[in-house]
Amino acid sequence: MSAIYFSVGPQHAGSGHFRMKITLQGDIILNAEPDPGFVHRSVEKIAETREYLQNVPLIERQCLSDVSSVTLAYAMGIEELLGIEVPPRAQYIRVIMCELSRIMSHLYWLAIFGIFLGHSTMFMWPFGDRDIFITETAEKIAGARVSYSYIIPGGVRYDLPDGIKEHTLKTLDYFQGRLKEYDAIFFSNPIFKRRTKGVGVLSRPDAIRMGVTGPTLRGSGVRGDIRKDEPYAAYDELDFEIPVFSEGDAYSRSLVRFREMEISSSIIRQAFENLPEGDFKVKTRKKVPEGEVFSRVEAARGELACYIISDGTRKPYRVKMSTPSFRNLPGFSLMKGSMLADLPTIWMSLDYWPLDADR
C-alpha cells in the first residue's frame, strides 16, 4: 500500500490552531512533523514596546488556560531586577492562584483528552468543574473569568475577599469527590488503559535528551519539578509530593496530571491554613535597573522560564519566554511508528497547547 500524505489541522476535530503533517502507510504513521505558528502573535516583540506593568496582561494571553504561572514568572523576574522582597501573604496568595490555575489547566487538558479519545462525557464534566473553580473561587479572588492580571510585580493586585477560604474549601471538597468519579469513568476504564498503555513510550534518557518538561518529563520517571528543585513563592514552606511514573507512556503521563490535581488541592488547603496576615503588595518603581534575569516557575505544562533583559528604562529591552509547550515539541517524534488511532492519544498526552508554544 502506498504512503498517504495528509495534514491534520488546523481545521480538524482532533486539533486546534495547529497542524501535523502526517505520512501514513497502512495504519502506521511513517513520519509526523509538527507545523506550529498558527497563533504566533509576537508577544515577545510587542512586550519590548510596552511598559513593564502593561506587559502583564499581554504575557498572560500566551497561555490563557494557565495564566497565573505565566505572570508569576514574569513578576518574579522583575522583582529580582528591582531587588524587592514580596510580602509573605502575597507569596501564599500566589501559591493559591498558581495551584488553582494548575487544576484548571489540567481540567482543560482532561476535557480535550477525553474528547480526543471519543469520550464526550469526559469533555463535558471537566469543563463544567473547571467553571465551578472559575466562578466560585478565581472570579471572586481576581475579578475575571480567565484573564486575571492578578499577579503583578510586587505582589498581587487585591487582597483576598472575605469568606473566600470557606468557598474554596467547599469547592475543593466537591472536587475531590469528582476526582473519584473521573477515576471511575475514565482513568480506570479498561478501554482507556488499552488505548494509552504502551503508547508513545518516552524513555528517561530520551526525555532528558529531547528536553521535554513538566508532566511529560515526570511521566518518564524524572522527578523534575521547579517547585521542589528551586522553590519560589511559598512552596518551600508547604508539604507536598511530586508524582512520578516511570513507564513513560501516555498512560503514565496522564496519571501524573491526574495525581497533580489532587496534590494541588491539598496545597491550596495548606496555603489557606498557613495564610499569614500582612501586606499583599509592595510599591514598585516604573523604571527597572539595568541587568538580566532568568526566572523560572513550574507551570501546569512544565517548566516556564522567563528571561528579561533591562536597559534601565520603563520598557524591557528583551523578554524571552521559554514555554513548556514549545519545549515539548520534540515529543511529537514519538508518533513515528505508531498507529493513526494513537495520534490524538500521543498528542494530548504531551498536553501541547499551541498558544503557549507559538507565543
Binding site: G16, H17, S42, R61, L64, M124, F127
Partner: protein
C-alpha cells in the same frame, strides 16, 4: 444538453425560492435553520477556552441547537472565530469558509477577532476577521464571557429569523 439542464435547474430553483419565501413556509425553514447551528471545529486562538466553557454544562449553548461535535466542516454552518487570526491562519480560515456549504454564518468572538485587540500592532495578525470574511455577529470582550457568546447566538438566531431564504449553490 448540460446547458438545458442547467437552465431548467435554475428555473426550478427560482420557483422553489418563490414558494419557500411565502410567509408560513419561510417561517418554518428559518425556524429549522436557527435551531440547528453546527459550529466548525476551528480554534484560532485563546478564546477557544471560553468557547469550550460555553459548551460545557454551566452554559450549554447546545440548548439553542449549537451542537458540539458534528462531523466535518461540510456539514457545519456556523464558524466561530475564536480570537486572533494570524496571517498564517487567515489563509486557512478563508479556505475553510469557502469549503463550507451555504448558508453559513460567522461569529467574530473576542477583541482580537474584531480589531486585533491587544495585539493591534503585531506584525503577524489580521486586524479584524471582517477583512477576510463577512461577519454576522461581533462579540466584544477579551475573552468574552460565555454568556456573551450565548447572547451572540441569540442575536444570530434573530437575524436568521428575519432573513430571506436563499436557495443557492454557493458562490
Amino acid at each position: 444538453m448540460l446547458a438545458v439542464a442547467n437552465a431548467f435547474v435554475g428555473r426550478l430553483r427560482s420557483v422553489v425560492e418563490k414558494i419557500v419565501n411565502v410567509n408560513p413556509i419561510r417561517y418554518i425553514v428559518n425556524w429549522g435553520k436557527l435551531y440547528s447551528l453546527w459550529p466548525v471545529h476551528l480554534t484560532t486562538a485563546c478564546c477557544s477556552v471560553e468557547f469550550g466553557a460555553a459548551n460545557c454544562p454551566r452554559f450549554d449553548v447546545g440548548r439553542m441547537g449549537v451542537a458540539q461535535f458534528f462531523g466535518s466542516l461540510r456539514q457545519c454552518d456556523l464558524i466561530v472565530i475564536e480570537g486572533t487570526v494570524t496571517k498564517k491562519m487567515a489563509k486557512r480560515v478563508k479556505k475553510i469558509y469557502s469549503q463550507m456549504a451555504s448558508p453559513r454564518y460567522v461569529i467574530a468572538m473576542g477583541a482580537c477577532a474584531i480589531s486585533g485587540g491587544l495585539f493591534y500592532n503585531s506584525y503577524n495578525i489580521v486586524k479584524g476577521v471582517d477583512k477576510i470574511l463577512p461577519v454576522d455577529v461581533y462579540v466584544p470582550g477579551c475573552p468574552p464571557r460565555p454568556e456573551a457568546l450565548a447572547h451572540a447566538v441569540l442575536l444570530l438566531q434573530d437575524k436568521i429569523r428575519k432573513g430571506r431564504v436563499n436557495i443557492t449553490d454557493g458562490e
